[in-house]
Every structure is written in structure tokens, then in C-alpha cells.
């Protein structure tokens, strides 16, 4: 892993058009500003992890019986 030291208001450029700037540092929390083209998706890693974990849980679903929603839906 490449590790760079940066101070507040300094930034790094990735692939010419993605800029990560250090906006603020308070205690153990760092605020990062991200300037990137719209097609570059930026999410917190936790979001990916939550979706990966949920997909794994979904793949473990019991397959023998899928609950029926028909009774509920018919009531409408």
C-alpha cells in the first residue's frame, strides 16, 4: 500500500482527475474532500461491506420454502 503524509488543505491526485483533500483533522477523525467525475462512485467502505454481507446472508436463505405473499397481496 502506498502511504503518503498530508497536512490540512493538502491533497493528492489520482489518475489525473480525482482529487482527495484533507479538509480537517480533529482527534482521530479526518475529514476528506473528494472531487471526482460523476462516473466515479464514492461510498464509505461500510456500505460495500453491508451489501456484501447481506448478499452472503441472502445466499444462505432457506430454499425449501419461500414464504407466500399471495394471501397478503390478495387482501388489498
Amino acid at each position: 500500500m502506498l502511504i503518503l503524509s498530508r497536512k490540512i488543505n493538502e491533497s493528492i491526485i489520482i489518475d489525473d482527475n480525482i482529487e482527495l483533500s484533507i479538509v480537517d483533522v480533529k482527534g482521530d477523525q479526518v475529514k476528506i474532500g473528494i472531487d471526482a467525475p460523476k462516473n466515479i462512485k464514492v461510498f464509505r467502505k461500510e456500505v460495500y461491506q453491508a451489501i456484501q454481507e447481506e448478499n452472503r446472508a441472502a445466499a444462505r436463505s432457506a430454499v425449501d420454502v419461500i414464504p407466500s405473499l399471495e394471501d397478503i397481496l390478495k387482501k388489498e
Binding site: 462516473n39 462512485k41 441472502a58 432457506a62 419461500i66
Partner: protein, 151 residues
């Protein structure tokens, strides 16, 4: 072709049921080829991995329990599936369902919608940009609310 499936054993599927996920599904990135099958219970579907008989996801049309659902995915992302803003007829939107032991607590993942172009048979799991949607929406509860709000 014959396909070994998790829910039904060996069945025959048609070529048009095959969907390629060029990026896989999050957490299953290397598995790219799936088949879309009707489940025996409407309104569910199965997304069966073609090369991994033990891997299958239950899908649901989220609009059935959340009529206000929109996946909130960038138009530029949908272009990867060759879906433009006017291609509503080609676009299928699904949520992956998790069924725990207590089936009443089954949930749908609205934060990671599955979108498929049924014409070129490609699909991708996206991450919704709308923070309103989470990975666990209780289908039964939301159905009850939907029914309640109609009264």
C-alpha cells in the same frame, strides 16, 4: 440447456433466461453467469448461478411492497447496461431477498438493487445513492404499512 439449480434440481432453461453480470454480485465478484428463473411462489424469482449449483438468490420486484421505490442509480451507470432514460421496457429492477429461519422476518435489500437489461441480458448490482434505502427492509411489515395507508 440443462441446468443444475439450488431450488429445483436439474431443470431445462432457455437461452433467453441467461443473464451476464459483468462485475458479479458484491461478495461474489467472480461469478458472472446467472439464470433468471420463476419461483414457484409469485412474486419471487430466482437468480441461479450457472456454474455454481449451490448459489442462488431470491429476488422480488420491490414495487410490490414499496410502490414508492426508485433505485436512484446514476443514468451514466445504467449506460453500462446499455439502458438509456427511455428504455423502461427493457429495464428490470429487483431486490435480493434474505429469508431467515423465521420467514416472517424476511428482508429485501433496497440499497443494492439488481438491474437487468432484458434485451441484451446483462445485469449489475448497484449501490443506491439514496440513503433512505437500507440493506434490510422487512417485506411483511412494509406490506402491512402499504395496506394500512390505503385504508
Amino acid at each position: 440447456m440443462e441446468l443444475k439449480t439450488k431450488p429445483f434440481g436439474v431443470i431445462n432453461i432457455e437461452e433467453k433466461q441467461k443473464i451476464t453480470f459483468t462485475r458479479g454480485i458484491f461478495g461474489f465478484d467472480n461469478i458472472r453467469e446467472y439464470a433468471l428463473l420463476n419461483a414457484s411462489q409469485w412474486p419471487f424469482f430466482w437468480l441461479q448461478a450457472i456454474d455454481v449449483p449451490d448459489l442462488a438468490f431470491i429476488l422480488i420486484d420491490p414495487l410490490i411492497f414499496r410502490p414508492d421505490y426508485t433505485p436512484d442509480v446514476d443514468e451514466s451507470d445504467l449506460l453500462e447496461l446499455e439502458l438509456g432514460p427511455d428504455d423502461k421496457d427493457k429495464k428490470l429492477v429487483f431486490s435480493i431477498v434474505t429469508v431467515p429461519d423465521d420467514q416472517k422476518k424476511m428482508t429485501a435489500n433496497l440499497q443494492g438493487p439488481i438491474i437487468i437489461n432484458r434485451e441484451n441480458r446483462t445485469g449489475r448490482q448497484f449501490i443506491s445513492t439514496n440513503q433512505k434505502w437500507s440493506v434490510r427492509h422487512f417485506i411483511m411489515d412494509e406490506l402491512a404499512e402499504k395496506g394500512g395507508s390505503k385504508c
